[in-house]
């Protein structure tokens, strides 16, 4: 009968990939659904959606609703009476809250960065930022967890922690240099280094005495050691695991000067003046009075010719005379 008429249709741009079509549709549909949600604040259900958007493919509708749910722009809830499922608009997006917390963290981070090597106390952070102390503590914990900052025990303010950026080396004034570990003063280490320095100077002095035939000036000048040399010798001995700087050795040598065992003299070596040290003998071997018990008696103040403490029955004299 009739010929099969093949009507050459224009290729409609239906040949666009279905995805992008769906995407465009999706955003349009999202917008419409959100509009609807805003229009009906009490919530909409499937029925309303169908009446407003009759041409909607179910699959597309499901996808869009899922998207909105994950983006938390709408929520699902049950009507109290009928237990029917309703969709509602989600008022407060959580992301805005996150942004506020980030701001505080940034402020704190900036303050800590400014503090640099020396670090900063948490009450100082509060003063500078004007935030609440508990908030700050929370933020600090969070930042520490993220390994952005670290806390260091400060020696100057007895066991109080100071915060600084993670990769910075704490300044000497905070950790106290090599003599402090974890905020504790290492007196044994100091004593050991002390004795070593003293012994080295003694050896130098004895070596110098062998040159006695050359005269006392030679002997004296030969018994000096500079602080750099001592530092080198101590480092060679490997008593301490880390290297001691010249300043630290000079601090130890200064304590020896205050012990009265050595003396210091500045010598100009080229352009700079360096400190040299040598052993000295005290002017007296010992004050003569300490050789009798009264010289070192702890109760000398109350000793007298009458009363409990008398020289006649003095316990210290009894011990001394035996």
């Amino acid at each position: 009968m009739a010929l099969k008429v093949v009507i050459k249709k224009e290729k409609v741009d239906d040949a666009r990939p279905r995805q992008s079509a769906r995407d465009d549709d999706k955003t349009e549909i999202e917008a419409r659904i959100l509009e609807l949600l805003r229009k009906y604040p009490k919530g909409i259900n499937d029925k309303i959606l169908e009446t407003h958007m009759p041409n909607l493919d179910i699959q597309i509708r499901v996808d869009v609703i899922n998207d909105l749910l994950t983006k938390k722009k709408m929520k699902l809830f049950q009507a109290p009476g009928t237990n029917e499922l309703f969709w509602g608009l989600n008022e407060q997006p959580v992301s805005i809250k996150l942004k506020e917390v980030d701001k505080e963290e940034n402020v704190v981070m900036r303050i800590i960065e400014e503090a640099g090597n020396k670090g900063i106390l948490n009450k100082d952070i509060r003063d500078q930022s004007g935030l609440n102390l508990t908030t700050i503590n929370k933020i600090l914990k969070a930042l520490e967890g993220k390994n952005l900052i670290k806390s260091v025990l400060s020696i100057s303010v007895a066991k109080i922690k100071v915060y600084m950026l993670f990769d910075l080396q704490p300044d000497r004034s905070v950790t106290g240099g090599s003599w402090y570990t974890d905020g504790e003063f290492e007196s044994e280490l100091v004593d050991i280094v002390n004795q070593q320095c003293y012994r080295m100077l003694q050896q130098k002095a004895e070596a110098a005495k062998l040159k006695a035939m050359d005269g006392p000036l030679i002997v004296r000048n030969a018994s000096f050691l500079s602080s750099k040399e001592i530092c080198q010798m101590i480092s060679d001995m490997n008593i301490v695991k880390f290297n001691l700087t010249v300043e630290e050795i000079e601090a130890i040598l200064e304590t020896l000067v205050y012990d009265g065992k050595i003396e210091m003299r500045m010598v100009s070596d080229g352009d700079e003046r360096i400190k040299t040290y040598r052993i000295v003998e005290t002017l007296l071997s010992s004050a003569a009075i300490v050789r009798i018990p009264c010289g070192v008696c702890p109760v000398i103040k109350i000793c007298g010719t009458a009363g409990e403490v008398q020289p006649k029955n003095c316990v210290y004299y009894d011990q001394w005379l035996d």
Binding site: I218, A251, D259, L284, A288, V290, R291, V296, T305, P311
Partner: protein, 485 residues
Amino acid sequence: MEKLSAKSDHIYLGEAIVKKALAVMIQHNLVKFQASERNNNVAEYTMIHHNVYCLIRYPKYLYMIKRIYGTSEEILLEILLNLGQASASNVIFHSANRLNEANDSEVLSPSALHQSFQRLAQDNFIIRCPKLAENATLLKVPTLEIEEKEKFAVPNVEIEPIARMLKEKATQLGGHCDSEIIWRVNHERFDIELRNVILVNAAARRVDTTAGELYHLILKLWRESSNPDSPVTTPVSYNVIKDAVRKNDSSPILLEHFDHYLRVLYEDSAGLIDRAGDAGGGQFNLDYSKVFENLACASLDSIVLERFGSKALRLFRLTRIQKFMEQDQMQNVAMIPAKEAKMFTYKLLEHNFLQIKELKKGTSNFAPVKSFILYHVELPQVVRTTLEASYKGLFNAMVRQMHDLTENQRLLEKHAMLESMLERLKGDGVPDEEIAELSDTMPPAEKSLVEKIHLMSDNLTLGQTQADETILILESYLKFKSKEL
């Protein structure tokens, strides 16, 4: 100052005994008299504290004289110390007697002793006592005076009467030509000598023994040229010192390295020699106040070390050198743990080695103001406290010695009697068994107890001498410090 009648009233001993006691003390230079200000006819008596104190130093004097000169001078001095004040002939006579008793073989001629006497006077170890003033006989209370140039002038002594008396084995010399010229021991000179010993020892410790020798020579030069009362000696030039060293027959090392030794001594921080100028190759003098300050500090350091420990010593020296320190600074610079540093600081404060000075920080009128608490060492005060403690220590040693001896007096007397009896019998030639029998009357336990008591007494005497040494240093510091001001 007391009048004679006042003294008798106080003491209830009777005027005659009081007079005699005063006379003895005046004879031994322990008491002096002068006319009272209110009433010229009455004498007032004052004690010379220093001379009384020097009684304890007599053994040291004898040892020093023996070391510097020899036995005959030592005996001369001993006799003079025993007599208090005596004329030259008297002293020579008694010394000759003593020496002859000691060694019968040699008889010492009095002229040799006369020369020894002159040596002692030349070096000012003995001094002439003031004599009666011209109008003295007119006054009830005589005045005594002596001229500067006569103080050490030895008069001519007639040897023959002395030699004659000695031959006759007389015990008293009788009248002699110079009986008006009376001598006594010069304590100030001995003080200088004792101080010099301490200084020379310090120099020997600081450098070496040769330096000690050099320093000894230089001290002699200073003493000869300076006024003994001034706190700084007159400068002595390099050339003079060098001459003295050459003349003195010193060790070859000293001659060879003389320059170096001098340099090491004057560059030393103890202040044993100060370079005062460049004339004559260099002028050198000694500032007593500086060197005795260092010695006094060394004594205090030693006392703090023995009483409290080395950490306390570090804190003490630190505070003294840096003048004013806060507690935190002290523990940081001294590198001592905080707790220990605090403990030692407060201990030193408690025993008055450290003093506190408070400075207020704010100026508020209302709220309590925080203050700086600074620790410092007030050296004269600490030295005075320690000096008092040293006097007390010396006194305690003497009391203890007296107590020990009186407690066991009976035993000691018995032992002494036994010993003298044994000596006599031995001298008479009694056989040994009888002597042994007699000595057995005293059981060995008692003998060992007597030994022990003697040993204790000797130790206590030595202890007193030691205390005296520290007292000398501290007293000298205070004396020169007050002079410099």
